[in-house]
Amino acid sequence: MSAPVDPPPPALPAPFDRWFAARGWTPRPHQLALLAAARAGRSALLIAPTGAGKTLAGFLPTLVEVGERRSGDPQRSPRTLSPSPPVGEGGERPEGASRVRGDTATLRLDPSPGPSLRSGPPSPTRGEGSGSVRGGGLHTLYVSPLKALAVDIARNLEQPVAEMGLPVRIETRTGDTPPSRRQRQRRDPPDILLTTPEQLALLLASADAPYLFGDLRRVVLDELHALVTSKRGDLLSLGLARLFALAPGLTTVGLSATVAEPHDLARVLVPQRPGETHAAEIVQVGGGAAPIVEMLDTAERLPWAGHSALHALAEIYAMIGRHRTTLVFVNTRSQAEMLFQALWRINDDGHAIALHHGSLDVAQRRKVEAAMGEGRLRAVVCTSSLDLGIDWGDVDLVINVGAPKGASRLTQRIGRANHRLDEPSRAVLVPANRFEVLECRAAIEAVAENAQDTPPLRTGALDVLAQHVLGRACAGPFAADDLFCEVRSAAPYAALSRESFDAVVDFVATGGYALKAYERFAKIRRGRDGHWRISHPQVAQRYRLNVGTIVEEPMIKIRLVPSRGAAARGPSGALLRGGRVLGEVEEYFVETLVPGDTFVFAGEVLRYETLVENEAYVSRATAADPKVPAYMGGKFPLSTYLAARVRDLIATPAAWPRLTGQVHEWLDLQRLRSRVPKAGDLLVETFPRADKHYLVCYPFEGRLAHQTLGMLLTRRLERARLRPLGFVANEYALAVWGLGDLSLAVTQGRLSLADLFAEDMLGDDLEAWLAESALMKRTFRQCAVIAGLIERRSGGAEKSRRQVTISTDLVYDVLRKHQPDHLLLRAARAEAATGLLDIRRLGLLLSRVRGRIVHEPLPRVSPLAVPVMLEIGREPVHGEASEALLAEAEADLVREAMG
């Protein structure tokens, strides 16, 4: 698969040679391979572990090219040709120069080395208005998923550029860039622009796009593996297709961590043609030293369920004490809060331990990141907010608390430690319960084999395409035939049908309704020349306010106020004096709070007081047993690959000794009391408990797919008159309970498990459930916002998200009834297949277990069932119980009234 990395190295221009030599470095083979590919006009995908000098490899061709072109240009202003500043002579390294790691030469474009780097010599800039060989547009565009990453890369790129005296101007453009600078960037673009997918979409939607990008030579896509898994990747690939149309000579460079299907990823980087597959050249750098990954074999009793891992608290604390800097990864923000609290309670040594997750106030996060960069922290408890990009010099241990979820994810987290190719990273996995021991063992073995389970390439979403089509019209008139070809050249849209494309254009124009009511209000119109144009300049203004594919959960600000007793209350009852904002939580979490409830947030126990507009007022509390935020944020499902390994592990008793003693014993007991399912089988246990009857099955397909399965099974049991009452799901299992005797129903032949789990549940039952599903409505809302049906901002002021939520639910109901095949409903269904409802995976599960269901009627709960049974009462109970809950609320009143 990998391209040969051993052609005769292309000679580096003199300033580069000198610069490398002055540091005693030589360029790495993959850096030269990328240079060779660029010189031959080929696009390339560089797959390398962190620490391999990926970023320099990505930019080297650009630096060389711009440098050469400038020096070969007789009209150059002498100022920009000034010789290199006197650095690096005699082997001296100027203060703040990039560090050398190991003995091979890698330029580390390391964002963390501290202020010295930032105060380095200013980079020489191209004189404004000076003659230039190219037409004046950009030479190289760099796109990163994180704004902060773009800014850091720019800062660190300026260092070598300054040291080599290269006449290269580098600038960033993010949401934070002031308008004056954006204006100037369009008039007088830099050589290299670093930006994000959203900003690229905005630039492409302007009339300046042909000028800006007409001479574009190269696009560098950083963290490509992370970008392509979401709708942002769809948007980016459409933007890339546009860039190829504007600048046909363009080549691309993708930078990626190791992925399962490199060839698929390589397709994203080049234009596709109907019936053909094109891919960029792949340059793969072998992983450095194999990481050392261990699982904590706790001396404590291992919990049956739960995710806090508090049993191992003392052991985690001790590990922190034995290392210089430790990153403690957890899966959800609530786990982060809980663990952080717990660590501080036992922090007798006063270690500097910090907290970092996506809900914290930005200023707070930046403080933690800065302290980390300066080496002032002993440990950071964090979520995936620290998964990507920016790296932190001196981490020597990664602790992963809870389930690893996926092999590739774990590999990337481990890579955060000891960022040097030639030294092994060290990581310790801390399972929080018995099932997680299985998952940790499976993950450790997968990492050792360097197995990858990154998700497959997406099929481009239609809502994103709608946004792109409108953006295209904002840039200028287009012909539908041309745009269709262009869109299909983007890998995720290579299989798009003309019919779908036309439906998208129709949607953009007039909403795409069967009832042609909105011709008068069309956003885009086709002129006599057959070209589509926006109908009014306002359309472009509104497009610019609503660009992007990130539709956040509606969030509520958490504001600290004095406790209720101390607060002055006005006649309206809600006059609390506002204090500082601690951060934000999802609206649906706040909705489950009743005034007086306590929860942990930003490392404090807080008491919910009241909701005022879009802010939740809270006060400090000292509750012994706080209710912890059950954030959605960061709940990734167990990867399909790892799930299969876990099933294999359970099915293979010979492998059990590799697990911890407690877990081995637990599985032995399961074999005795019930049975251990074979790898391909689905074990279904039924048993009575108290006055109810339970059905527990073990698909190992992740919580989302299990929840959907639970909803559908409940409907079917209802029809079979087995009176189901509710269900609860975790990553591994699903438990449904009700009043009917399930064991008896199966043995008497009244209930067929094969029918119960038959794939046809994905037909009518699914449709009926989707009509009411809150998750589906949430999915629809995201599609509606991305496609531009609902605006998140109009005229600058962000619309209250509360309002948006209400109206999209109503719109969903009406649209579903009157035009069930509408484009947005199709988009929402496609999204539900892999998103919050994970229907695709449920479908795979049902077909996988067809004819392989093993029923075990039991007199009592089995050892394997205990963990999921313990979730009852901790997790919200699902089921179609809304009406029952309303009746309950009414009954409360009656009870109160009757004393």
Binding site: G511, F521, E591, T592, I790, V811, K817, P876, L885, L886
Partner: protein, 267 residues
């Protein structure tokens, strides 16, 4: 099209439970749902219907609030191309409840059209449907803040308020006297405007439903229109109307209404 027809039939089936409710009796089996709830406002027995409409049996009068017809097209004028089916949907619901009670008089409590031009934008078939519903009935359009002027080219009579016996029908509920909290002037007032909805938290789940809000002296009705959102009954606007939180909400569930005191609801 097939799907649409099937769905309407299903709705009809579900609602045929209503007659029992209206008659105050139970259907076979004893466990039959009671779809409507009888409220007494200013001494007058009224039925809060599952559809969100109010039925005054003694006067054979049906009352609906805040239809907001043509809200979808009003948004389209401003550039948001929402599905243009809301008027048809609202009229369909209205047709059902009219067909069920067969009222001699229908009172629309204001904000019947989302804006002053709403009636002009009615699609031909919707205009015809509305005309058919009005035919043979006294149809009263109360003025609302969205539609203060009489609409052109639709039937019915246009009034600011309507008094019938002990009841006063108006769009916006009057505020309780700020000094005394006295409601004397407003007893018997039936109003809309506020789009009341109630949110309860039960077993860690949050449920929000449209509702009727009453303290026995006056009533605020839920919005009837397909695109109308809701305002929590814990919003201060309701405290102004009822002079505090001593009122009751009747939440509209799937097959019946649920009675919950306002203090039990969450903002």
């Amino acid at each position: 099209m097939e799907g649409i027809r099937r769905e309407s039939a299903a709705v009809r089936d579900a609602r045929t439970i209503s007659p029992a409710a209206a008659d105050g009796g139970a259907t076979d089996g004893g466990a039959a749902a009671v779809a409507g709830t009888t409220l007494v406002v200013a001494g007058v027995p009224l039925v809060a219907d599952l559809s969100g409409a109010l039925w005054w049996p003694a006067r054979r009068t049906l009352v609906v609030a805040d239809l907001h017809l043509e809200k979808g097209s009003a948004c389209a004028v401003r550039g948001a191309l929402l599905p243009p089916f809301d008027t048809a949907e609202t009229l369909e619901r209205l047709a059902w409840v009219i067909g069920f009670y067969d009222p001699t008089r229908v009172i629309a409590l204001g904000d019947s059209f989302h804006d002053g031009e709403g009636a002009d934008r009615l699609a031909t078939e919707n205009r015809a449907h509305l005309g058919a519903l009005q035919s043979g009935r006294d149809w009263v359009w109360i003025a609302g803040n969205h539609d203060p002027e009489p609409a052109r080219a639709v039937g019915g009579r246009f009034v600011d308020t309507l008094v019938d016996g002990p009841l006063l029908f108006r769009h916006e509920p009057s505020a309780a006297s700020p000094a005394t909290g006295s409601l004397a002037a407003a007893v018997g007032e039936i109003a809309g405007h506020l789009h009341p909805c109630a949110r309860i938290v039960q077993r860690g789940r949050s449920l929000t439903r449209r509702c009727f809000a009453t303290d026995g002296r006056r009533l605020v009705m839920p919005a009837f229109g397909a695109y109308t959102g809701g305002l929590s009954v814990r919003h201060r606007a309701f405290a102004r109307v009822f002079g505090g939180d001593a009122f009751t909400t009747h939440l509209i569930g799937d097959s019946r209404l649920y009675t919950v005191p306002a203090v039990r609801c969450i903002a």
